[in-house]
């Protein structure tokens, strides 16, 4: 199965990158879930957390206060003003 190639960057540092099965983010219009094969999207992020389900391992939660993200051909770039990994939640909920 195809997977998402995720890259999270903050203004002054690199946050996280890796393969993911699923990604959930909060945009200006509401929550959006991204699965592999998603149509290209450019959306504005709202302050809140972004959840990433990596290919292997625990779910990662990244806190971001605003920014934007783009999706094209399974490549996700999340650009946040200020982002940090807040926790890794064990297992899927």
């Amino acid at each position: 199965m195809a997977e998402l190639e995720v890259e999270i960057v903050a203004a002054d540092h690199f946050v996280w990158s890796g393969g993911a099965k699923m990604l959930k983010a909060r945009t200006a219009d509401g929550e959006i879930g991204i699965l592999p094969g998603h149509t290209p999207v450019l959306a504005i992020l709202d302050a809140g957390s972004i959840e990433i389900q990596p290919v292997s391992g625990d779910r990662i939660v990244v806190e971001a206060d605003g920014g934007f993200f783009s999706v094209d051909s399974n490549r996700v770039v999340i650009v946040a003003d200020n982002a940090h990994i807040s926790e890794s939640v064990a297992g899927t909920r």
Binding site: E7, V9, A10, A11, D12, H13, F14, T27, A28, D29, I32, T39, P40, V41, L42, A43, I44, G67, F68, S70, D72, S73, V77, V79, D81, N82
Partner: protein, 296 residues
């Protein structure tokens, strides 16, 4: 002990202690420059992503945005000058201020008023000393800029850009900073920050096929949110370049100062030895002359 020898000793002592200071400053600059370069490199992914996104929006939709439209008649231009907080960095601040002066001159000759915004205490001192007006100054942390500072500057500049001319608004914004090319090459450069020239990038990026994005929310609002960030990222990049350049200049200046101090110490030591030898010779001559006089 002769007066001459004492003078040389004092000079050697003071030059030695100055050399210690130069060496310490050089070491501090050397240790910080690595970090500054790493931060410059770390900011690149963000800048790249945001540039790509802005050109994606600009190329897929065709509309005017206040930040990208040229004002019809440009009456006042803002110049943001990034200088250092501290000296001991050779010609760093002087070079950047010279570049800013020539830009100001050029803008004036085009019939524009110039509103200057300064970063760094050196720039402030330069303007204060000459009793010249500036709109705002930010000082502190020029060798280790924080992103919040870039946001602050962006807010002030955007406010000025959106204000009408009569209320002190500006029609274009230039940034003068020192670009960090390598450890040995840093040069003052000028970029025009606003109005944005996204169009030129659109042409260059045309070869790379940008996907047809869906926008969420509408493209206009996406651009509204993107452009201030894009400007912030440009300002922040300029600040990081300036910081790395400042440290590189300081390191070089302090290395030269330390080397010169070593040369001086060597020179004074030679002179001191000559003086001491002259004194000994003199004393010997006097003793021999005295003995001769007694024997005669």
């Amino acid at each position: 002990m002769g007066a001459q020898i004492r003078v040389y000793r004092q000079k050697i002592a003071s030059t030695t202690s100055m050399r210690k200071m130069f060496k310490a400053m050089e070491l501090i600059a050397t240790s910080r420059i690595g970090k500054a370069r790493a931060r410059l490199a770390a900011s690149l992914p963000y800048a790249r992503a945001i540039t790509r996104a802005v050109s994606a929006v600009a190329s897929t939709s065709d509309f005017e945005h206040p930040l990208t439209t040229e004002h019809e008649n440009v009456r006042r231009a803002a110049v943001l000058v990034l200088t250092a907080d501290r000296g001991q960095a050779g010609a760093y601040s002087a070079g950047i201020l010279k570049r800013a002066e020539s830009l100001t001159e050029l803008l004036r000759s085009q019939g524009k008023e110039v509103a200057t915004y300064l970063v760094g205490r050196k720039g402030q001192a330069y303007f204060d000393f000459r009793n010249r007006a500036y709109v705002q100054v930010w000082t502190g942390q020029t060798d280790n800029p924080e992103f919040e500072r870039a946001q602050e500057i962006r807010k002030v500049l955007l406010e000025a850009f959106s204000a009408p001319y009569e209320e002190g608004g500006v029609d274009e914004i230039h940034v003068v900073y020192t670009s960090f090319r390598s450890m040995v090459v840093q040069e003052p450069v000028v970029i025009r920050l606003l109005p944005l020239e996204v169009v030129s990038e659109k042409a260059s990026e045309a070869n790379e096929i940008l996907p047809l994005y869906e926008f969420e929310p509408e493209p206009e609002r996406v651009l509204d949110a993107l452009l201030p960030r894009y400007i912030e990222s440009r300002i922040f990049a300029a600040m990081l370049h300036a910081a790395a350049s400042e440290l590189a200049s300081r390191q070089r200046a302090m290395k030269n100062a330390g080397d010169n101090a070593s040369d001086l110490i060597k020179k004074y030591t030679r002179l001191r030895n000559t003086a001491r030898q002259a004194e000994i010779t003199q004393e010997l001559t006097e003793i021999i002359a005295g003995a001769d006089a007694l024997n005669a």
